[in-house]
Symmetry: C2
Amino acid sequence: MSKDIPDICELNFIHQDTVNIVRGKMPPEKPICDVAELFRIIGDTTRSKIICALRFSEMCVCDIAALLNMTSSAISHQLHMMKVAGIVISRRNGKIVYYRLADEHIEQLFNIAFEHITGE
Amino acid sequence: MSKDIPDICELNFIHQDTVNIVRGKMPPEKPICDVAELFRIIGDTTRSKIICALRFSEMCVCDIAALLNMTSSAISHQLHMMKVAGIVISRRNGKIVYYRLADEHIEQLFNIAFEHITGE
DNA sequence: TTAACGATTGAGCAAATATTCAAATGTATT
DNA sequence: AATACATTTGAATATTTGCTCAATCGTTAA
């Protein structure tokens, strides 16, 4: 019989008690992953620019494309991703689709982030 | 003589005035990219878990590795990235390096993000 | 000095991602 | 019906990225 292969988590425990306490307080896996996904989506230069623009006015796809000097296709891809993630919502008026921020949480996140990078 | 190749930004203007107004209000490129970079870094499952853990206690590399069932190398890589970004800070005590969150902005970001995904 | 060990670092690989390109929708106008 | 046009969609590509592995660094204790 071979010896049991040790779990990776048993190899190097320095503060077993701290690990156990924190493990007990940690949120479940799912909400942490959802939060990470939210940050991942707004954590892109193009999408951050789109969000910054939508803070001032709802805009249609080609206006955002013109503002950022990019193709409508690229913008549409990013807007779709943000819509699925619940970051933006859209309304159609004829041929034109207008996008705006879904709720005030997104603005709050950017306000805090700007504070962070400017050092308060 | 061939005709001028039109700029991409001149192709499809629907609301020229809106674009101009928003362009005038938009923050400069640099801070937007910095904010996007901050979100990009916390927008990863592993790094979000690390941050969630550090909300409850400062921890050393191998304790975080044990908590998340990952290698110390992987955790150290992520901590380095977060340290450069000003998200965590560290102190050394002998062989052990303890990490903690750099400031309260990071916690605020996560609080708001959790609100967002739970719908208030 | 040597050994032990927590932490760091760099190279390399597999997986994820943003944009481009081409084609297809959906709506309004002629 | 047919055209025009804003938008969407899917596939393909180039780039980015997270982890592993191995080697090294920094500190402590024998």
